[in-house]
């Protein structure tokens, strides 16, 4: 029973991976990583129960918290990069 659920989640992770590899824009990739992280959280819980080790839910808990951190980091990076690019464009215009 757990194996079925784990398999289904694995398929979902694989499909999300394609979007992460393809995603034309930066935000698509951030989104795909976020979704992949949630699917990993679920899969770790299921595999933990499958191996009769329910304390692996601790790992799932960690991931749920830290994937949030990495999404925030990616968004801050996009912001800073955007500001930098605008600054460079303004400088280039000012120079030319």
């Amino acid at each position: 029973m757990y194996a079925t659920a784990a398999l289904l989640l694995l398929v979902a992770m694989a499909i999300t991976l394609i979007r992460a590899l393809k995603g034309p824009s930066v935000f698509d990739r951030i989104l795909a990583v976020n979704t992949f992280g949630t699917a990993t959280v679920l899969m770790i819980s299921v595999v933990g129960f499958m191996d009769h080790r329910p304390d692996l839910v601790d790992i799932a808990l960690i991931y749920a918290l830290i994937s949030f951190t990495s999404t925030i980091a990616a968004l801050r990076f996009v912001e800073i990069d955007h500001a930098r690019r605008a600054q460079e464009a303004a400088e280039a215009q000012g120079d030319s």
Partner: protein, 338 residues
């Protein structure tokens, strides 16, 4: 995993490489879980999803490289060396025993059997990893903590904290402008989350005896909580609350606690890092010793990771602020639906 690795090398857009690397670490954490290595999976999860991604992204933001430059000329020598090295590694793994092979040295080595059979009764700690890490192989863990310590002071020495221009502090503005107002929802919900992260780190630290956990994992999780604060409110606020000088001292304090407990054992009449001498009941002494050194490890790891991330972030900010006195958020581009 292979697909991700290939894609990470093949993509020239460095941001997507950083994100794909995050996915790679997620996959390896799942792999560790499947292989029933819970402590390793926990560390991989905490480090890969949080710290690695943040460090890579701050490097990208600080340097401004978005596309990896195509190297000039043919890279025959580099490719040749990589191929030879890869082939040698694969040839080496051919000799290794298969996973779960009953006659492999990991399974048949008498010392492994001794650990597995004796450690629950000898140490009284259910999770076998923690006494192995902290007591049977305490010297190795001491060395690892020293390595973490060295990494921390190495980064501090090489990169250092924010530079000061003409001896004055840089403009205390958050760049981009009014970013705190923009992300009000995020800030509020994120700030609610931080105490839970820190509390959970303390739980993981103390729970290393009974489940996956211990000093390293707890240190990384605690540092992730502090990093979240930095991401939400900016490096200035974060440095106001979590003084970098205190962090620098804490890097050493953790290692000193570890070594101090070892010395205490000597003073009590045992050998270095032989915790059984810490109390009248040797098992209790063992527990106290393990708790103490895990605390030391946790403190050092927290301080090191937080210092490193603050260094990177501080440099990022000083790099941007010195280029612009006032950053502007550009209006959204009008792209008509086509």
């Amino acid at each position: 995993m292979l697909a991700i690795a290939i894609a990470t090398c093949a993509t020239r857009n460095l941001f997507s490489a950083a994100m794909l690397f995050g996915i790679f670490s997620l996959i390896s954490a799942s792999l560790f879980v499947v292989l029933d290595a819970a402590d390793v999976a926990m560390t991989e999860a905490a480090v890969g999803a949080g710290v690695s991604t943040i460090l890579m992204l701050s490097t990208l933001a600080a340097t401004g490289y978005r596309i990896q430059r195509r190297p000039a000329g043919r890279q025959v020598l580099a490719i040749g060396v990589s191929v030879v090295l890869g082939a040698a590694l694969i040839y080496g793994t051919l000799d290794m025993p298969k996973v779960g092979d009953p006659i492999s040295p990991v399974q048949t080595n008498p010392i492994a059997k001794r650990y597995i059979q004796v450690s629950p009764t000898e140490t009284g700690i259910p999770n076998m990893v923690t006494p192995l890490l902290a007591s049977y192989r305490g010297f190795d863990t001491f060395g690892e903590t020293a390595v973490v310590f060295t990494a921390g002071i190495g980064v501090l020495a090489l990169i250092g904290r924010r530079r000061r221009r003409n001896g004055a502090l840089l403009v205390p503005n958050e760049v981009p402008e009014n970013s705190a107002q923009r992300h009000r929802v995020l800030r509020v919900s994120g700030k609610q989350l931080i105490p839970f992260i820190l509390l959970y780190a303390c739980y993981v630290q103390a729970h290393g005896d009974y489940g996956p956990g211990g000093g390293f994992q707890a240190g990384v999780i605690f540092a992730s909580g502090l990093m979240l604060y930095m991401l939400l409110l900016g490096i200035d606020e974060a440095e106001r609350i979590i003084s970098p000088k205190v962090l620098e001292k804490l890097i050493a304090v953790g290692l000193l606690i570890y070594g101090g407990i070892g010395l205490l054992d000597i003073l009590q009449g045992g050998s270095f890092l032989d915790y059984r001498t810490l109390s009248h009941n040797p098992q209790h002494g063992l527990h106290y010793g393990i708790l103490g050194i895990e605390l030391g490890v946790g403190i050092t790891v927290t301080a090191v990771i937080t210092s490193i991330v603050f260094c990177f972030a501080g440099h990022l900010r000083s790099h941007i602020v010195e280029r612009t006195s006032q950053a502007e958020i550009p209006s959204p581009k009008e792209t008509p639906a086509s």
